[in-house]
């Protein structure tokens, strides 16, 4: 187990290096001129001003040198400064990532808290009214994009409950209560969409397991219905659900750009998209590094979770 985790963590290093090289090259392949974007049309073409900026940003060095300069700084713990604003990349990431993590955790909590019970109810009452209503719920939230639901929440909130905070962000460190309250509409918009998928998945997986021999045997032995469902069936049915929820969570911690835009949350999604629009190379590099590490770590955590759910799964 420990060797497995150690191996996975070591594997992180080549993964990160590879991704950062690809990200660095890709952004340089995109057409567009950072200096014109930065200085504006008139000043951007003034030779002296242009050269001064290009030199200051090391953009006159070969790509490989630029990459190595960046890598050297990273190894010394310095992610550099934004080419556009001059802000410290580390500070910007430290500011945005907690927002994204909080949103991801809240959304995932809502998704699991709503999705799994709905799936169980639908499976145990397959073909009945309750099953049909959860199917309607699922289809609605799977089909309607989260940003649509979010916009409806904001507009309806403004009209019928103007005192309700729907927009903007209060840092968790400043006031945990208000922070969670402010983020609730955004987290619910995201979470409900995922809960719909989880509910469908749980239902299908439960029905599979419920049809298996050991369940029939348990029932034949006279085991109580609740024990059959929650102890014998659920545990076995959860593994594909955890795999799927894990994938969803990896997406979430990459930053939910559109939901962040709609609800004016200062998270990673907006940070990265703006950095790409502005060709802010150092910011993109820093963000890619952070997001990749987070994705690899979450994948590892999900893999380890299988073992917690089903002790038969072992790691070599």
């Amino acid at each position: 187990m420990a060797t497995y985790v150690g191996k996975r963590l070591l594997l992180l290093i080549p993964t990160l290096l590879g991704v950062s090289v690809v990200a660095f090259l890709l952004i340089h392949l995109i057409p567009g001129d950072l200096v014109t974007i930065l200085l504006g049309i008139t000043a951007g073409q003034n030779d002296q001003t242009r050269q001064a900026l290009i030199h200051a940003l090391h953009l006159d060095r070969p790509l490989a040198v630029q990459y190595l300069l960046w890598l050297g700084d990273v190894l010394r713990g310095d992610l550099g400064h934004s080419l556009v604003s001059g802000f410290s990349v580390r500070d910007e990431l430290a500011r945005s990532y907690p927002v994204t993590l909080q949103l991801a955790l809240m959304a995932m909590t809502i998704a699991l808290a709503v999705g799994i019970p709905l799936g169980i109810v639908a499976a145990t009452r397959a073909g009945r009214t309750l099953d049909a209503s959860t199917r309607v719920f699922s289809l609605l939230f799977i089909s309607a994009p989260a940003f649509f639901i979010g916009t409806v929440v904001i507009i309806a909130g403004a009209r019928y409950a103007p005192w309700l905070p729907t927009l903007g962000h209060v840092p968790f460190s400043e006031s945990p209560g208000r922070s969670v309250l402010h983020m609730l509409p955004a987290a619910a918009s995201l979470g409900l969409a995922i809960s719909a998928i989880i509910a469908r998945f749980t239902r299908g997986s439960m029905l599979d397991v419920l049809g298996q021999d050991f369940v029939r045997t348990a029932r034949a032995k006279g085991v109580a219905d609740a024990v059959v469902v929650y102890k014998h069936t659920l545990r076995n049915a959860l593994i594909p659900v955890v795999a799927m929820a894990g994938t969803q969570f990896v997406y979430l911690i990459g930053g939910a750009v559109i939901i962040e835009e709609v609800f004016a949350l200062p998270g990673m999604g907006r940070l990265v998209v703006n950095a790409i629009y502005q060709r802010d190379y150092t910011m993109i590099q820093g963000a890619v590094l952070l997001l990749t590490s987070a994705a690899v770590l979450v994948n590892l955590a999900v893999d380890l979770l299988y073992h917690v759910i089903d002790r038969r799964i072992l790691y070599a």
Partner: protein
Amino acid sequence: MTDGTEHPSDSPTRRAFLEAGALALLGLAAPPLAPPAAAQGGKRGGTLVVAADVSPPGLDPQKSAAAHSWMIAEHVYSNLLRRDAKMSIVGDLAESWQVVNDTTYVFKLRRGVVWHHGRDFMAEDVKYSFERMLDEKTASPWRSNWQIIDRIEAPDRSTVRFVIKRPFAPLLSYLATPHYSAIVPRDVVEKHGDLQKEASGTGPFMLERFVPDNTAVLKRNPKYYEAGLPYLDGLEYRIIPDEAARLAALRAGSVHYLWSVDPLIDRQLQGAAGVTLREPDGYCAQHGMAFNQTKPPFTDARVRRAVSVGINRKEIIASVLRGHGAVSTKIPPCDAPFGYSGDEKGLPYYVHDSAQAKRLLGEAGLGGGLDTTLEVSPRFPQTVRTAEVMKEQLAAAGIRVTLKQVEWGAQLKNFVRTEYEGMSMIPLVWQPDPDAHVYDIFHSGSKINLGKFKDAKVDQLLEQGRTTLDRDKRVAIYRELQRHMADEAYLIFPYASGATEALRDTVKGYVSIPGAQPGSRSREFFKQTWLER
């Protein structure tokens, strides 16, 4: 046309603002400053919340070319001069000024002005501010504006002397333009390296907190030099990228003020209680379409003219802008008398005529019609809609246009370097002086001549406009330039438009100058604004 940096999400009109012939003051000693506008029923207190759409990439007025930076910074910093509600140039940090000769200007500074961090303001600060912009290391986007300066002297604590290299008509306009010439403190710059996140100025509001992508909170400067102002305790720019969310926040009352370039804004806010809309008082922000004139067919004036008469400007304004716009050249109608009055009068090839367009094409040997391309960026939906209407109109004249949607960063680069196939169109912004509107993009010697056209007459008019200090003569020069540009159809300006402002009814004392840029150039107006509670 110093734009193109961080364009706001839908159109940069908001960064345009109006300037009318403020140069009349040139050549005369300025009258002493009128006493500060005293409280006219204004009530102290409250925080006004503005919904902004884009997070500023830093707040340093000398480093950031983005409108979203200066719309916040202009409340923090002061300039030597400013514009009043009638757009005349009046003193700000300068109490009076004198034009000693064509190239020497002397400014007498206000006494008793204090920086937000407590130090006395003095002449040395003015000298430092311009030298910082001229320093290559600052990489200021405004550096080229000030290369006209030969030297700045500060003979005593309250006198500044500007000596420029040659007569330069736009000088006072530039000095009254918040983002071009904000006065900054050396000690604060040196302490923090720059003013992107920290700020100390002499303006009506002080920066309390700036969290990118979230908020910029300003509080009242109790030592502001206009006694009694500002009325507000604070001013907050809350960054809300989504337009529907901004409008919802205004409805709910958590935001007091916003602006929109969406011509359907009145419908969007229909039935919103306690909200008032203000139509733009003038149209200042133009769209510009350039032809690649490095190769045929657009090297032929007849082909360009065919495009010019082939598009129906009035119809575009009626459909795309729902009437909220005006016919324009690069110098927009809100810059009257320099600009044309907003219709086609006096401008050749401006009145729509498909038959004439076909005839012109025929004369140019393109009787069978013409196939060409038009680049636009999906970043600006209004530009795309404009292009779609133009495509239909030009088809009727035998010009078959293929629209190419290109990512903004890439399109901007192609546009300034004339690296596109046929035509390319972007939203342009208002500039603080007619010279700034046209010189760099029309001059044959300029690297950013749009379309790479060369015309000796244009160059000559540009030089005259830049060095003629007499206002009436200057108006005649720029009007002739615009007429000549329309006649040659070097560039197409389909229209000028503006942005609508929406305010909560509790906002009192807010005045916007004719055609003013909502969200920006509003320093004068927010300091006199108060909230009725």
